[in-house]
Every structure is written in structure tokens, then in C-alpha cells.
């Protein structure tokens, strides 16, 4: 059966959308920038924010939605028998519905609120993983995972004796799938992989991999932290078992993340954290648990943050994910073109159209921290470091890189400033170095 499956070397990269089929009005960038107070701040230097893959900026509508909660109906949810608590409960549950619709979940109970992607993945690794894995089983991840989709599985492997295996990547930064049949077998119990690399921006062919994993009976968790903010992710179309993502990378606040799961899996899974809200009835020695999603939401949740994330989802819907994706492609094309003009630059990862959101690079002989430091002097905010992806850094034989990442509010001329800042760094830092 395994031998019958076919994995072409060049897997179809899912492009969301197919720009040619979806003629769009281009984004009105100035109008969008007007929605973000932080981008309108008057300072000596402009804020050229190229670090949205770490955290995105927050539009005023999201801040206002959270502000309204604290100013007008701040109260704990679910058991308050009074007006503002009922309002807070309704807004919190309505947020769950809107966020569920955003990823096309069948029902709101499939949306579990967590703190972030990391907590969502840990929830699955502890709850589902501890109940289902044992020695001899295998967990399949990729070398491009963020540490948040590696460490929970390393810990699970240490607890259960299950073996961790890795899908390698090519020098171009795409998954190497020719030997998938060796890696993905009946021993594989779960595949945990990122939809989009947080370092390289690579869009992985997750739909094909999910089908392949299901064919051997494995479950699949998709790390959607870098995909859900940038293009339409449809959990029913993908057929993933779990999807994890964070609010603060998609115009929402920090402190709120989501775990989507298939209902039958969530219902079978034991609780993760114990405490208030997650119980049905409690005796001295044992308890019975609430239905999902409450079973996984012990303690007072991040109420204003859930409401803020729903406002962010509404905002992204209003602007349009397709238009955002096309705009980011335009930024990426231009960034690749401009940065490739620089001598002694190494750009990691695939070309635009195989990726989204980010360009990662190094300049010969200049430490990434220094590059980021010089760019800061011209107002450009980028990230320098290992990007919580040390196995990927090891694959490229570097300690760190510089990453510029884009979102709906970035402009082409900001890339010109990035380019000028890099030339400035080269002038300053590669003069007489021995």
C-alpha cells in the first residue's frame, strides 16, 4: 500500500489564492496604515516595521474592542448572574464563533482558547500525546520547525520512548519529500509540521502531507502561526487533525492563541490543565470534566484578548486575505530584487511565490546583531538571531540570520530604506576588518 503512493519531487505549492483567477483591487496601503496608531506616531525616525513574523502591529479597532470590554463590561464570564457578566460571556463565545468561521471550523467547540501557538501544541503533546504514544511509535517533524513545534515533541518522546524523526529540507529551503515513504510509516502516530516556515517563509505542501499521513493512520498537527495571518487556511479542506495559531501575529493581541481540533479527538483527550471551569463535578478524590472546549480551558481565560482576536479576524476579513497575500508577494518580489543587488549577501530559502511573508539573509562578515543594530539607526525594525529554529540554522551552517518580514501595512519604499540601511552597515562594518 505504501509503495503505491506517489510523491513527486516538485510538490504543488498551494497558492492562496491563484492571483490570476482572482483579479483584485490592490490594497489601499495609506488607508490601511491609517488604521494603525503606531504607524502614525511622529518621531525623529519613521517606524519601518519589518518584524511582523515575530508580532504584528495592532489596528485601532482591535485596541478599541478590548478597551470597550475593560471600560464598559469588565467581568468574569460564564457564572455571573448579572448584566455585564452575561454581556462578557456572550462576547467571549461570539468571538469563538467568529474565529472558528475564519478557519472554517465546523463548530465553535472546536476552537480552544490558549495563550499562544506554543501552548496549543503543548496541549496536544501532553494530552493526546501522553495518552496515545508508547515506545516503538514515531513522531514525524521537519527540520524547519520553530522550537515551539519541536520541544513539546522532544519532551513527549522522552516521556513515552516514542522516536522523533525528521523530514529534511533542500538547500533551497523546501521539504525534501523523495524519501517520505521511509519516514512516514505505520509506526508514525503523529506528524507535526509547520504550514509556513517562520524563518524562510516556505509554504509547505501540507494538504498532500496530511493525506499521506492519514493513509498510514497518523494524525497531523499543523503549526499555523505563520500561515493563518497571511492566507486563507480552511481546516475542512486541509483535513488536518489539529491546527495551532497565535493572535498576536494576525493583528490581534498577545496572550491569546487557538487550538483547533477534530471533535472526536478533542472529546477523547484527557484534560491538560486542571482547575476552575473545566469540571462537571468535583469530589474529594476525583472529578468529572466539562465538555470541550471548556475541558481544556481551566481558569479565567484571556477575555478581552479573545474579543480582541475576533476584532482582528473581522479586520482581516474586511481587508481581504487574498489581497493581503498578493500585496505580500509584491513586497517579497521587490525585496528579493533589491537585496540581490547587494554584494556579499546570502538569501536563504525559496524564491517569492513559493513562500510568504519573510526574507532571511546574511551579509558576509557582518554579525546579524550588528546588521539589525545599524538598521535600527535608520528606523528599520528587523529580527536577528536564530529565530527559535536552531536545527534550521545548523542545516545552513550559520549561528544566526537577519529576517525582514512583511504584512499588509508595509510599503515598497520601506524596502528601499532597508536596502539603504544594509549598504550603510556594509560601509561601517567591513572597512578594515582583518
Amino acid at each position: 500500500m505504501i509503495g503505491q503512493r506517489h510523491y513527486p519531487n516538485q510538490v504543488r505549492i498551494p497558492m492562496y489564492p491563484q492571483p490570476m483567477n482572482n483579479p483584485l483591487n490592490p490594497l489601499d496601503i495609506e488607508a490601511i496604515r491609517n488604521d494603525f496608531s503606531i504607524l502614525k506616531e511622529e518621531n525623529d525616525l519613521p517606524l519601518i516595521y519589518l518584524d511582523s513574523a515575530a508580532t504584528s502591529q495592532t489596528p485601532d479597532c482591535v485596541i478599541e474592542a478590548m478597551d470597550a470590554y475593560y471600560r464598559t463590561y469588565n467581568s468574569n464570564i460564564h457564572r455571573g448572574i448579572y448584566r455585564i457578566s452575561e454581556e462578557a460571556t456572550a462576547k467571549h463565545e461570539e468571538a469563538r464563533q467568529r474565529i472558528g468561521r475564519f478557519i472554517n471550523a465546523r463548530r465553535p467547540s472546536q476552537i480552544i482558547f490558549t495563550r499562544n501557538t506554543t501552548e496549543s501544541i503543548n496541549l496536544v503533546a501532553y494530552s493526546w500525546g501522553s495518552a496515545n504514544l508508547r515506545e516503538g511509535d514515531e513522531i514525524l517533524v521537519t527540520v524547519m520547525e520553530h522550537h515551539s513545534n519541536l520541544l513539546p515533541w522532544q519532551l513527549l518522546s522522552q516521556r513515552t520512548g516514542a522516536k522523533l524523526r525528521f523530514i529534511e529540507i533542500t538547500d533551497e529551503g523546501v521539504l525534501q519529500l523523495d524519501d517520505l515513504e521511509r519516514l512516514l510509516t505505520e509506526r508514525t502516530k503523529i506528524v507535526a509540521m509547520t504550514h509556513v516556515s517562520n524563518v524562510l517563509g516556505t509554504i509547505n505542501p501540507v494538504q498532500e502531507l496530511i493525506a499521506a499521513a492519514h493513509a498510514v493512520g497518523a494524525k497531523v498537527l499543523i503549526d499555523g502561526a505563520q500561515s493563518v495571518p497571511h492566507f486563507d487556511v480552511d481546516v475542512q479542506e486541509l483535513d488536518c487533525d489539529f491546527l495551532a495559531f497565535s493572535g498576536h501575529k494576525m493583528c490581534g493581541p498577545t496572550g491569546i492563541g487557538v487550538l483547533y481540533g477534530k471533535s472526536d479527538l478533542l472529546e477523547e483527550m484527557p484534560p491538560f490543565l486542571g482547575g476552575g471551569s473545566m469540571i462537571r463535578s468535583v469530589q474529594r478524590e476525583s472529578s468529572t470534566y466539562a465538555d470541550v472546549p471548556a475541558k481544556f480551558e481551566a481558569g479565567t481565560p484571556a477575555i478581552s484578548e479573545a474579543i480582541g482576536l475576533a476584532a482582528a479576524v473581522d479586520y482581516l476579513n474586511k481587508v481581504g486575505l487574498e489581497a493581503i497575500f498578493v500585496h505580500e508577494q509584491e513586497l517579497l518580489e521587490y525585496a528579493h530584487q533589491k537585496l540581490n543587488e547587494i554584494e556579499d549577501i546570502t538569501i536563504y530559502g525559496p524564491k517569492p511565490r513559493q513562500k510568504t511573508g519573510a526574507i532571511t539573509f546574511n551579509l558576509e562578515g557582518i554579525h546579524p546583531h550588528d546588521l539589525a543594530g545599524v538598521l535600527d539607526t535608520v528606523g528599520v525594525a528587523v529580527r536577528a538571531g536564530h529565530h527559535c529554529a536552531q536545527p534550521l540554522m545548523q542545516k545552513y551552517g550559520v549561528i544566526a540570520t537577519v529576517r525582514a518580514s512583511f504584512y499588509l501595512y508595509n510599503k515598497l519604499d520601506e524596502i528601499d530604506t532597508l536596502h539603504e540601511g544594509l549598504l550603510k552597515a556594509q560601509r561601517m562594518l567591513t572597512r578594515r576588518r582583518r
Partner: protein, 132 residues
Amino acid sequence: MNIYEEDILDHYENPSNYGTLEHPDISYEEDNPLCGDQIRIDLQVEDGIITDLRFCGHGCTISLAAASMLTEEIKGKPLEEVKQLNKDDILDMLGIPLGPVRLKCGLLALKVLKAGAYGLKGWPGEEDEEAK
């Protein structure tokens, strides 16, 4: 005040006491897990005095310039005296303010020195804060 002052760039480009000693009395190497910077310091100590020293490694301008300045500062000094050096001394040598992330770059050389010479493993400055 710019963290890329001419003085810092000079130390970065032409560091003092760069290299290794053939027979060091003390040799210690460590890295900064935040950014992977790595510094090794070799010391030659006679009658409690640092008579010669070298450093080597890789890192950003701040970590290498701080290492270079530190080695200039302590050459010929009693090893015991060097124990008193702390975060503020490094900031004085660099002559610039450093944010919390770059501070670790600036302090790496002193951390390596203190770990090698006295077995003090913490980040300079942090032990003081704990004691307060």
C-alpha cells in the same frame, strides 16, 4: 549616542590582544546562548599578576570591542583586583548605553573572564541584583 561609535568600531576592526597563548595558566571559553557569540580568554598569571593575555572568538561589534577593551584594561593588573570589575566598568569602557539584549553582548567577555579566573558562572551585574 550611537552604539557604532568610532572607538567601538576601531576595537572591533583591530582588536587588542587577539589570539591565543601557547601555555596559558587559565583558559576559558563560553558562548552567549541568546545569539551564539563565543569568546575564549587565555591568561598568563605570575605572582598573582596578569602578565599576558589573549582573547579570541566570534561575535558582534559590541561583544568583540568589549573583549578587546577589557583585555587592555586588565593587562598587568592583579588577578584579585579584576574580580571587582562589573557591569558598570564595561559600560564605562564602551562609553555607550546598552539595551537589555545588547548588554549581554557587552558583558560576555567579563563573564568568561570571571568564570575562568574565579569560577563565577553568572552574568556580571545579575548577582548584584539578587543580593539587593
